[in-house]
């Protein structure tokens, strides 16, 4: 039998788990999922023969019901934020209020054509630009970038444009601390900057002296993630920014962790020249399927002339797109960026208000510290101080050669998504937990109890952990074998 259908012989602990082949494996020649009427307009001219493919594309051929079952079954493999705690550190998997979904589906928004200067939509983008600027203490914002790393690229292009406009093309170095987000070095390198790594100190934060030592006349700037990937606030940030500015460099602030400081402090008030916001983290828009996201970029006045064109500006009582920006780095994204995401984020900010955003940050930090305090007697804490919105434990001191991965896999048996593992790289065997503000105390206690039980199991029955998960759809996956031996199910010719 060439196709696998029906319940697996190794079901999960609850419900029915199906073995689902890929759509390509399900394909049956000639089977179709829709019936189209005969065309009632003349057939369009065909492209020249030499431009056509020799054979038809090998699309899977399935019926509608097969396609439907396929995707529903795949969705059942998934663990999502509506299932429970999703403590993936650095990713900020907070619950996304469903009213945001209703609002972005309003017919006026959903059916708007991007070529129309749709006043309602322009007003929304204008007000979102304004609100984001206020939250981070910046002067101007572009909503074009489609994700965090795209925002980083935009920001670094702005820094490059700024130096070039001042005739300082020789500036080719960007300092990046070892506690920065992993995408920072790539964003700097893609803008043709040389990355200068700087190590954090024993407290897990940056020393102003270390930054000063890395500064010279070729400094273009620094990329700093704050709170950093150890979940610690860079308390020397003001001094670091001052040193960078004294050397003629600019401060790029990776705002991916802005969810820890909303309404409490503002990057623009402690030295940031440019930053990006992750709307899909801080402002509660979905991460689903790797996107779409949105990574708006905020700048201080001196970088505003270089922002991507167009941006939305006031025009009398209305709004318009301003394309007359001669120093702009150019367009970063078609039309207005990922508009649906912008609408959700705007709805979230309006729902929450200033006090609500501050409360969200306070609760995110409180929840992370609740977990820290409840587990630090069992799990090694490399920096035993209060954390911000996420807490990093390590595998050090775990009994019986239990590794971070074993703990993460065993958590699945208790019904939790594993936290981020082996990141940040500055600590060995990191277990990076970010609960977010959107889980009730009972959920946090459940998670804490699971990790405490797992620690007891590690002592009493280590093999239970070494072979976990036992109740998940897929048992322990041999990642090494999988990476070394790819199994291609589609004929890619």
């Amino acid at each position: 039998m060439s196709k696998l259908y029906g319940p697996c012989d190794t079901p999960g602990s609850t419900g029915i788990a199906y073995c689902e082949p890929t759509l390509f494996e399900r394909s049956t020649p000639g089977r179709v999922g829709c019936s189209l009427g005969a065309p009632d307009v003349p057939a369009p001219a065909q492209p020249p023969t030499e431009l056509r493919r020799a054979a038809d594309a090998a699309w899977p051929e399935v019926s509608e019901v097969e396609a439907m079952r396929h995707f529903v079954r795949l969705s059942q493999y998934n663990y999502n934020i509506e299932d429970g705690l999703y403590p993936l550190g650095s990713c900020t998997m907070k619950y996304n209020p469903k009213i945001n979904e209703d609002l972005c589906r309003l017919a006026g928004f959903a059916n708007a054509h991007p070529a129309d200067e749709h006043q309602g939509l322009l007003q929304l983008i204008y007000e979102l630009q304004r609100d984001l600027a206020e939250i981070a203490g910046m002067d101007a914002v572009t909503c074009q970038p489609a994700a965090g790393a795209h925002g980083e690229l935009t920001g670094m292009l702005l820094i490059r444009a700024y130096h070039e406009a001042r005739g300082e093309n020789h500036r080719n170095k960007v300092i990046i601390p070892d506690t920065a987000h992993g995408t920072n070095p790539a964003s700097a390198a893609i803008c043709n900057y040389q990355v200068v790594p700087v190590a954090s100190n024993e407290q897990g934060i940056l020393d102003p002296e270390a930054v000063a030592a890395a500064c010279d006349e070729n400094l273009a700037g620094i990329m700093i993630t704050n709170p950093n990937t150890l979940g610690l606030f860079e308390s020397n940030i003001e001094q670091v920014a001052k040193i960078v500015h004294e050397h003629g460099g600019l401060v790029y602030y990776d705002g991916a962790n802005l969810n820890a400081i909303m309404g409490i402090t503002r990057p623009g008030d402690f030295g940031a020249d440019v930053l990006h916001y992750n709307l899909h983290k801080t402002f509660s828009t979905p991460h689903g399927g790797g996107g779409p996201g949105a990574g708006p970029v905020g700048v201080k006045e001196h970088l505003a002339p270089f922002l991507p064109a167009p941006i939305v500006v006031r025009d009398g009582d209305g709004y318009k797109l301003d394309n007359d920006r001669p120093q702009s780095i150019g367009r970063m994204r078609a039309w207005h960026g990922n508009v649906g995401v912008l609408i959700r984020a705007y709805a979230y900010i309006r729902e929450m208000g200033a006090a609500g955003l501050r409360k969200a940050s306070e609760m995110a930090v409180l929840n992370a510290n609740y977990i820290r305090a409840a587990l630090q007697d069992l799990y090694h804490l490399p920096h035993p101080v209060p954390c911000m919105h996420e807490v990093v434990f390590t595998e050090k001191d775990l009994p019986n050669e239990i590794a971070t991965m074993d703990v993460a896999k065993r958590l699945m048996d208790y019904g939790f998504h594993p936290p981020t593992v082996y990141f940040p790289l500055v600590v060995k065997g990191a277990l990076m937990i970010e609960p977010t503000e959107t889980f009730e105390p009972e959920a946090l206690d459940g998670f804490i109890n699971a990790l405490r039980k797992i620690h007891a199991e590690a002592q009493a029955d280590p093999d239970l952990l070494h072979h976990a998960p036992h109740h998940a759809f897929a048992k322990r996956v041999d990642e090494v074998y999988a990476a070394r031996n790819l199994k291609l199910t589609a004929d890619m010719e």
Partner: protein, 129 residues
Amino acid sequence: MNVPQDLRYTKDHEWVKVEGDVAVMGISDYAQDALGDIVFLELPDVGSTFGAGDAIGVVESVKAVSDIYCAVSGEVVETNEALVDAPETVNGDPYVGGWMVKIKMSDPAELDALMDAAAYEKYLAEETE
């Protein structure tokens, strides 16, 4: 950790074995252990030239992707193509079968900047404390 006495080492955990004017390079036992099971390797083209400290290749494990840094300046004269199909060799045999590149040195004096086995062992002790 196995630290052969006859090799020199970089702070990024590459080892160098000198054979006349050619430096044979790989990654140390400590490096392979820290990376975990290696699943993919990218080696430079023969004939390309690198400065000391330049990224010369990539090693990927299930945990992380890391650059391999060139220990000394020079031209790549040979690479260990067998590793591309059997990257696990680096885990099992980092110092012999797991060699990665051979570099014709342009400035052998750069070898003096590398650590000998005793210095590298001390460095590892500090790193892992």
